[in-house]
């Protein structure tokens, strides 16, 4: 059975801190790993990673995939209160259309 495990499950930091969120997976026929940000209700797409070692960046957010270790990290530098959200990691297979999500990491950034 496929598994996607995120850690930590929750995190409280101060504005300006840097955070690292982790995602590990056990998936048959891996194709891609995705990160989503969920504020209130609708998850919004952040990154899709398919190759090891290639960092994807968007502003203060970055992510990298390690296919040897079956894991990925999401880094957020200089955190702001607007970064408070649930960060979801999901994995897609070559055979199929479903995304398998982890439980998410709930991040709270305090002023």
């Amino acid at each position: 059975e496929d598994k996607v495990v995120q850690s930590p499950l929750s995190l409280v930091v101060h504005e300006g801190d840097t955070v690292t969120l982790n995602c590990s997976y056990e998936v048959t026929n891996f194709r891609s790993l995705l990160w989503y940000k969920q504020e209130k209700k609708a998850p919004t797409f952040l990154f899709m990673l398919t190759s090891s070692g290639i960092e994807k960046k968007s502003g203060r957010l970055s992510s990298i995939l390690d296919k040897k270790e079956l894991s990925s990290i999401l880094n957020i530098t200089a955190t702001q209160t607007g970064d408070s959200a649930i960060y979801l990691c999901a994995v897609g297979r070559r055979s199929g259309y479903a995304l398998n999500f982890g439980k998410g990491t709930s991040l709270l950034v305090t002023p």
Binding site: V4, R31, S32, L34, Y36, K40, K41, A42, P43, T44, F45, M48, L88, A90, G92, G96, Y97, A98, L99, N100, F101, G102, K103, G104
Partner: protein
């Protein structure tokens, strides 16, 4: 450019009733997926529709059924509601042929079963 829209936003039903949730995909998208997100959990895949056909189904009972219309919009039907069906139901759209893992989600329908 309209994103993914879902209706209704909230719904309260009692056990045994039936419910229909609706979804309009992002403009230009032709594929619709439905996910169930229980409190404190990640979204779980229910099924995906493309060309008006269900082309993959997750581990959900037959009480969950769906439909896709020629305009690509979709409905999710749940029969014989159970308390455990209380969850946020998310619709996501994508475009066949693109990286179809890159989903665009709606804001969901919050279903409460009493």
């Amino acid at each position: 450019d309209a994103g993914v829209t879902q209706s209704p936003t909230h719904l309260i039903k009692t056990r045994g009733q039936q419910v229909t949730l609706r979804c309009s995909p992002k403009s230009g998208h032709d594929t619709v997926s439905w996910y169930q997100q229980a409190l404190g959990q990640g979204p779980q895949f229910i099924f995906q529709y493309y060309e008006e056909e269900e082309r993959q189904r997750g581990n959900f009972p037959d009480r969950f059924s769906g439909h896709q219309f020629p305009n690509y919009s979709s409905e999710l039907n749940v029969n014989a509601l159970l308390l455990g069906d209380s969850a946020l139901y998310l619709c996501a759209s994508s475009l066949q042929g693109t990286p179809n893992e890159k989903l665009f989600f709606g804001s969901g329908t919050q279903l409460s079963v009493l």
